[in-house]
């Protein structure tokens, strides 16, 4: 079980997406998943070992690290990637349900079971709203947990068993900050793509509905 599973999942979703949806999948693959696996994971690999406090008191380093990093950036990043990709499963399930129904009734109920119309449109829109919501939640979580998107060189810690206020040094803060900004930028890009796709679909189908009604009235 690894990131390959997520990759296969997203490839499956790609089939039933709009053009903007496919761009979103490409951005998630190239700029989020691949950057995470190829670069970011290694930066945070030894973060605990390399976290150094100016004290010999046993336990002080552990306690300070735990206080300043309740959930490591890299774990939050991984959770964000998984959560944000999951709503697309709703669309896959709905298409599978349609195909199952056709098999069960032994007749063609839908012109094209993968086309985004009717119930599938609602599912698709819900998945887009969920994706955008989850992205925003994670960005806010990052901001609240770490007081903005900055990573300081030095943190001052005075939790027991540290005897006094002790200086603790974080490893590779600049590199971590660069990748954190990269994460934020790609999240914002994905939010914009999702909102764009939402507006496009709503606009397209309202125009379709309006034209249908107009034609009916004329008839």
């Amino acid at each position: 079980m690894s990131w390959a599973f997520l990759r296969d999942l997203l490839s499956g979703v790609n089939k039933y997406s709009t053009g903007i949806g496919r761009i979103w999948v490409a951005v998630v693959f190239m700029f989020r998943l691949l950057v995470y696996v190829a670069a970011a994971e290694n930066i945070w690999k030894h973060e605990h070992d390399e976290f150094e406090c100016n004290i010999k008191q046993p336990g002080c380093e552990n306690v300070c690290f735990d206080h300043y990093f309740p959930v490591s950036h890299i774990r939050l990043w991984a959770l964000q990637l998984i959560m944000v990709s999951t709503p697309s499963l709703l669309v896959v399930f709905h298409v599978a349900y349609r195909e199952n129904r056709e098999k069960h009734h032994n007749q063609k109920l839908y012109k094209n079971s993968g086309k985004i119309d009717g119930g599938l449109l609602c599912t698709y829109l819900i998945s887009l709203i969920l994706k955008t919501g989850l992205e925003t939640v994670f960005l806010v979580l990052f901001y609240k947990l770490y007081n903005g998107f900055k990573i300081p060189h030095l943190v001052k810690c005075d939790i027991k068993p540290c005897p006094n206020t002790v200086d603790c040094y974080i490893s590779k803060p600049t590199e971590k900050m660069i990748f954190l900004y990269f994460l934020v930028a790609t999240s914002c890009l994905c939010i914009i793509l999702n909102l764009g796709e939402l507006s496009y679909l709503i606009f397209k189908y309202s125009v379709k509905c309006y034209l249908k009604r107009h034609v009916k009235k004329q008839q």
Binding site: I23, A26, L154, I170, S171, F179
Partner: protein, 262 residues
């Protein structure tokens, strides 16, 4: 998910590339991505653990490492490779869009569609002309820009491409100016120069491909212009023939009219 997935994605684009594009892709995968994964990552693997400073002051090593290596070489290369590979996706999307249009035509039963079945459409190789030419050329241009930007960023951040053995650091909390020693500086210099050399080769390949595409474009244009110049002579001959016939018909009409009137 790893570089292998990137290989699968870009492998699809390979079918529709020019020969120089295929060479570029091979160079990218063998001499950059493979070297990065198989060798370079191990050379830089222990970079912070073996970065040693001549002081026992806790925190001095961390701070000095961060000061001299704001972003590690290996991460910069990984980002460079990702950014440089991304424009090829534009071509892949354009090809997929064209294929989708052809499938639509085929499904509608259009007689203009020259394919016998969906398999042929899937396997078809598109020639780089029309709007695909513009997409392909823009992707090469973007690649060139990304390569140049990353090479410059590298040069700017590390004051050249050499890895020094010793760095002098006086950032707080280091008490004085402290000597810090980088691990494996010669090996790192060798790999840095290798990666820069291969980047330069890739830049040259991209420039060559761009020139090739532009030359092809202008040649095709001049051919078209040449063809359209020949055609008006043909048309003129035909026009004059038609004019003669019209004159004959109108003369004969006039004669009959005159004949009737008289």
């Amino acid at each position: 998910m790893d570089w292998g997935a990137l290989h699968t994605i870009l492998g699809g684009v390979n079918k529709h590339s020019t020969s120089i594009g295929k060479i570029w892709l091979t160079v990218l995968f063998i001499f950059r991505i493979m070297i990065l994964v198989v060798a370079a990552e191990k050379v830089w693997g222990d970079e912070q653990d073996d970065f040693v400073c001549n002081t026992l002051q806790p925190g001095c090593r961390n701070v000095c490492y961060d000061h001299f290596f704001p972003i590690s070489h290996i991460r910069l290369w990984a980002l460079q490779l990702i950014f440089v590979s991304t424009p090829a996706l534009l071509v892949a999307m354009h090809v997929a869009y064209r294929r989708h249009e052809k499938k639509k035509q085929f499904r509608k039963g259009d007689q203009k569609c020259e394919f016998r079945d969906m398999e042929e459409i899937r396997k078809q190789r598109f020639h780089i002309e029309g709007s695909l030419w513009w997409t392909y050329t823009s992707s090469i241009f973007c690649r060139l820009i990304f390569e140049a930007v990353f090479m410059y960023a590298f040069y700017f951040m590390y004051d050249g491409f050499r890895m020094p053995r010793l760095m002098k650091c006086s950032a707080w909390p280091c008490p004085n100016t402290v000597d810090c020693f980088v691990s494996r500086p010669t090996e790192k210099t060798v790999f840095t120069i290798f990666m820069i050399a291969v980047s330069s080769i890739c830049i040259l390949l991209n420039v060559a491909e761009l020139c090739y595409l532009l030359t092809k474009f202008f040649l095709r244009r001049s051919k078209k212009a040449g063809n359209s110049k020949q055609q008006p002579n043909h048309e003129n001959k035909e026009e004059t023939k038609q004019n003669e016939m019209n004159e004959l018909i109108s003369d004969s009409c006039q004669n009959t009219v005159i004949g009737f009137s008289s």
